[in-house]
C-alpha cells in the first residue's frame, strides 16, 4: 500500500530531463571546437582564442556568476522575508520600487555609471550584476511567502509554533518553489550580464565578444557568444534540477 506513494517521489527527475540538455550542449560545443580547429585562423584570432585564454575567461565568467548570485541571495532572501513580516508590510512597495529601478536601468549604463563611482575592476562589475538581479529573487520570495493560505499560518500558530518556527517549518518550505524559480531567473540574468563585466574590466567571456567586435573578427565573437549561451543553458539546466530536487515533496501530488 505504501508503494504507490513512494513511486512518484523516486522518479522526480525523468531521464529526458536529465539527458536532453547536456546532450544538446555537448553537440553544440563539439561542433564549435571542430569548426574552430579546422578553419585557418589569422594571428589576431589565434591570439584571442588561445586555449588558456578562453579557459580563463570562461572561469572568470563562472566566478562572476557564482559570486554575484551569492550576494543576490544574501541580500534578497532576508530582505524578502523581512518585508513580508506584518510590521514591515508598509515598507515593501518602496523596496520593490528600488529593486525595480535596479533592473529597469539598462545594465550597461548602470555599469558605466558604477565605473565612475567605484573605478575599474571585478568588484564594480559584481555590484552592477547584483543590483540587476536582486529583483526576481526579492519579488519571488515575497510572492511565495504571501501566497500561503493565512488559515494554514493560523493553524501553525494555533498548535503552538513560535514565529520563527512558523517561518522555518511552514512558510519557507512552502515558498521554496517560487523562491527557487526566482533564483533560477537571477542565475540566468547573471550569466548574461556577466558578459558586460568586460566593459568595467571585470573579465569574463565578454572579453572575447568585445575583442571580436573591436578587431572585426567574427569567429572570436562567435566563440564568445556560443560559450556564453552554452553556459547559460547549462546553469539553467542545473537550476531546474535543483528546483525539482529541493521543492518539498507533497506539494507536487495533487488529486
Amino acid at each position: 500500500m505504501t508503494a504507490p506513494a513512494a513511486r512518484p517521489s523516486r522518479r522526480r527527475i525523468t531521464i529526458g530531463k536529465l539527458l536532453v540538455t547536456p546532450a544538446v550542449l555537448a553537440v553544440l560545443l563539439l561542433t564549435l571546437y571542430l569548426w574552430i580547429t579546422h578553419v585557418r585562423l589569422d594571428s589576431i584570432e589565434r591570439n584571442s582564442l588561445q586555449g588558456s585564454q578562453v579557459r580563463l575567461y570562461l572561469w572568470q565568467q563562472i566566478e562572476l556568476t557564482a559570486v554575484s548570485t551569492f550576494f543576490v541571495l544574501v541580500i534578497a532572501l532576508p530582505l524578502g522575508i523581512l518585508l513580508s513580516r506584518r510590521f514591515a508590510r508598509p515598507a515593501a512597495p518602496f523596496a520593490v520600487a528600488l529593486a525595480n529601478l535596479g533592473q529597469a536601468t539598462p545594465a550597461i549604463g548602470l555599469l558605466a555609471l558604477l565605473t565612475f563611482w567605484l573605478g575599474i575592476g571585478a568588484r564594480t562589475a559584481l555590484v552592477g550584476m547584483v543590483a540587476y538581479a536582486v529583483l526576481p529573487v526579492l519579488s519571488n520570495t515575497m510572492a511565495g511567502l504571501r501566497a500561503i493560505d493565512p488559515a494554514m499560518l493560523e493553524a501553525a500558530k494555533g498548535i503552538g509554533m513560535s514565529p520563527l518556527g512558523v517561518l522555518g517549518r511552514v512558510e519557507l518550505p512552502l515558498a521554496v518553489p517560487l523562491i527557487l524559480a526566482g533564483v533560477r531567473t537571477a542565475l540566468i540574468l547573471n550569466v548574461g550580464t556577466g558578459t558586460l563585466a568586460a566593459f568595467a574590466g571585470g573579465g569574463g567571456l565578454g572579453n572575447l565578444i568585445t575583442a571580436g567586435i573591436t578587431t572585426q573578427r567574427t569567429r572570436v565573437l562567435i566563440v564568445g557568444a556560443v560559450l556564453t549561451v552554452c553556459l547559460a543553458l547549462l546553469v539553467d539546466w542545473l537550476a531546474s534540477l535543483a528546483e525539482v530536487e529541493l521543492s518539498p515533496r507533497g506539494l507536487e501530488v495533487r488529486q
Partner: protein, 413 residues
C-alpha cells in the same frame, strides 16, 4: 454549573476547567467591540458548543481562549490558572487546536504533521513514533497506509481526522475546534461527528467547539451556548433545555422548526421503558406456543430464531393456519433497533412496522424487548415536561444572574 463539574470529575476526566471572565475584544477603529464581555464557566471533560449566526464573534471568542487573538480585557483561567498573561506559545502547546479544512501542512507527511506538537515540547523520538501510531489508530486511520502519505493525497474526511489527531497528539487537556467539520460533505460530517463522540467518550477532554449548525450542536454538545452579535450569550444550557425552552425569540429562531423531533435525537432507547412482549423460540413445539398465547391472554407474540434474535411476529390467526409448521406463518421482522439507537430511529422503525411496534435488540442482535407507539409518546411527553421544568429553573437562574451583573438590560418576557 458546579454540579456538572463535580459529576464529570468522578469519571476519569483528563480535561481541565476553563473560565472566561468578562472577555472582550475591541479592534482599533471600530466603534463596537467584536466580542463584548463574555463570561463562561466550562467544566472539566465537558463539551461546550458555541453556536450562532456568522459574524457573531463565536470564532473570535474561541481564538481568545488560546490567545490567537489577544483579548482587550478580561481574564482566561484554565484549571484555575490565570493564563491571560503567560507566554502564548507555551499556552498553545497545552491546548489542542483543530480548524476547518484541517490546516494540515502540505509539505509534511501525515506522521510529520501529527508529530509537530510532541516534537516542539521535546518528546523523545521513539515516544513520538509510538504516539503517532496510536493517534492514527485512535482516529481510525490505518498507520501502515497513512503514515507516509501527504495531506493532498487524502480525502477531506481523512484530512479532518489527521487534523484532530494532530490536535490531540500531545495529550492536551483542552481541545478547541473551530468549525472543524464545516468543509466536508454531510455524510462524512455525520461520521466525523460520531467519531468525535466516541473519542470524547474515551478521552474526556474539555472541548470547546464552534459551529453555525444547530443540529451539530445538539448532537455533540453537553451544553450549548447560543450567541448573538458581539458574542452576547442568549442562552447557555443543555441541548434539552434549549430545545424545549428557548430563552427568547432569537434562540427559538435559531433552534428552528421541529424542536420536538430534534429532541428525539437526544434520548436513547435504553433510557425509555422497554416493554416485555410474549416471545417464543423456533425450537419450542407448536403446542406449547399455542398454549402460551391462550393463557397469556394476548393475540400476538414474537418468535425468536435459534440465537435469540427477533424473527417473526405471530398472530393467533397465523398459528391456527400454521398446521404444524411455522415456516410460512407470521410476518418477518424487518426493522429492529438497538438499545443505543435514538428515539428518532425507534420512531422510524415503529412507523414502518405493520404492528406499530419495534423489537429492541442487544449488542449481538439478541432480543431484549419492544418499544411501541404508546411508550414512545408517553416518554416523549414526560421528557418534554421534565425539560420544560428544568429549563424554567435554569432560565430563572440566568435572569437573576443577568439582573445582578447587567442591570441596564430589560429582561424579555
Amino acid at each position: 454549573m458546579a454540579e456538572t463539574t463535580a459529576v464529570t470529575a468522578t469519571t476519569g476526566v483528563t480535561g481541565a476547567t476553563i473560565e472566561l471572565e468578562g472577555l472582550s475584544k475591541r479592534y482599533p477603529g471600530s466603534p463596537q467591540p467584536a466580542v463584548d464581555s463574555v463570561s463562561m464557566e466550562i467544566g472539566a471533560g465537558e463539551t461546550v458548543i458555541l453556536v450562532g449566526p456568522s459574524g457573531c464573534g463565536k470564532s473570535t471568542t474561541l481564538r481568545m481562549i488560546n490567545r490567537l487573538i489577544e483579548p482587550t480585557s478580561g481574564r482566561i483561567r484554565i484549571n484555575g490558572e490565570d493564563v491571560t498573561d503567560i507566554d502564548p506559545v507555551k499556552l498553545r502547546r497545552r491546548i489542542g487546536y483543530a480548524i476547518q479544512s484541517s490546516g494540515l501542512f502540505p509539505h509534511l507527511t501525515v506522521a510529520q504533521n501529527i508529530a509537530q506538537v510532541p516534537k516542539m515540547i521535546g518528546w523523545g523520538k521513539q515516544r513520538i513514533k509510538d504516539r503517532v501510531e496510536e493517534m492514527l489508530d485512535l482516529v481510525g486511520l490505518d498507520p501502515r497506509e497513512f503514515h507516509d502519505r501527504y495531506p493532498r493525497r487524502l480525502s477531506g474526511g481523512q484530512q479532518q481526522r489527521v487534523g484532530v489527531a494532530r490536535a490531540l497528539a500531545a495529550d492536551p487537556p483542552v481541545l478547541l475546534m473551530d468549525e472543524p467539520f464545516g468543509a466536508v460533505d454531510p455524510i462524512t460530517r455525520d461520521h466525523l461527528q460520531d467519531e468525535l463522540i466516541r473519542l470524547q467518550h474515551e478521552l474526556h477532554k474539555t472541548i470547546v467547539f464552534v459551529t453555525h449548525d444547530f443540529d451539530e450542536a445538539i448532537k455533540l454538545g453537553d451544553r450549548i451556548a447560543v450567541l448573538r452579535e458581539q458574542s452576547h450569550i442568549a442562552q447557555f444550557d443543555t441541548p434539552e433545555a434549549i430545545l424545549t425552552n428557548p430563552a427568547d425569540d432569537f434562540v427559538s429562531g435559531f433552534v428552528g422548526a421541529g424542536a420536538a423531533l430534534k429532541r428525539l435525537n437526544l434520548t436513547r432507547v435504553r433510557d425509555v421503558g422497554i416493554a416485555d412482549f410474549p416471545s417464543a423460540t423456533v425450537d419450542e413445539p407448536l403446542q406449547a406456543i399455542l398454549a402460551g398465547l391462550r393463557h397469556g391472554g394476548v393475540n400476538e407474540l414474537l418468535l425468536l430464531d435459534r440465537r435469540g434474535r427477533p424473527y417473526k411476529w405471530l398472530r393467533r390467526g397465523d398459528l391456527m393456519r400454521a398446521r404444524g409448521t411455522l415456516a410460512r406463518a407470521g410476518t418477518l421482522v424487518t426493522h429492529t433497533v438497538s438499545r443505543d439507537a435514538t428515539l428518532r430511529d425507534a420512531l422510524e422503525a415503529v412507523l414502518t412496522d405493520s404492528g406499530g411496534r419495534a423489537a429492541v435488540t442487544g449488542r449481538r442482535g439478541e432480543y431484549v424487548g419492544v418499544v411501541d407507539m404508546e411508550t414512545l409518546m408517553d416518554s416523549v411527553h414526560q421528557m418534554l415536561e421534565a425539560d420544560r421544568l428544568t429549563a424554567l429553573e435554569h432560565q430563572e437562574e440566568l435572569l437573576e444572574h443577568e439582573r445582578a451583573t447587567r442591570p441596564r438590560d430589560g429582561e424579555p418576557q
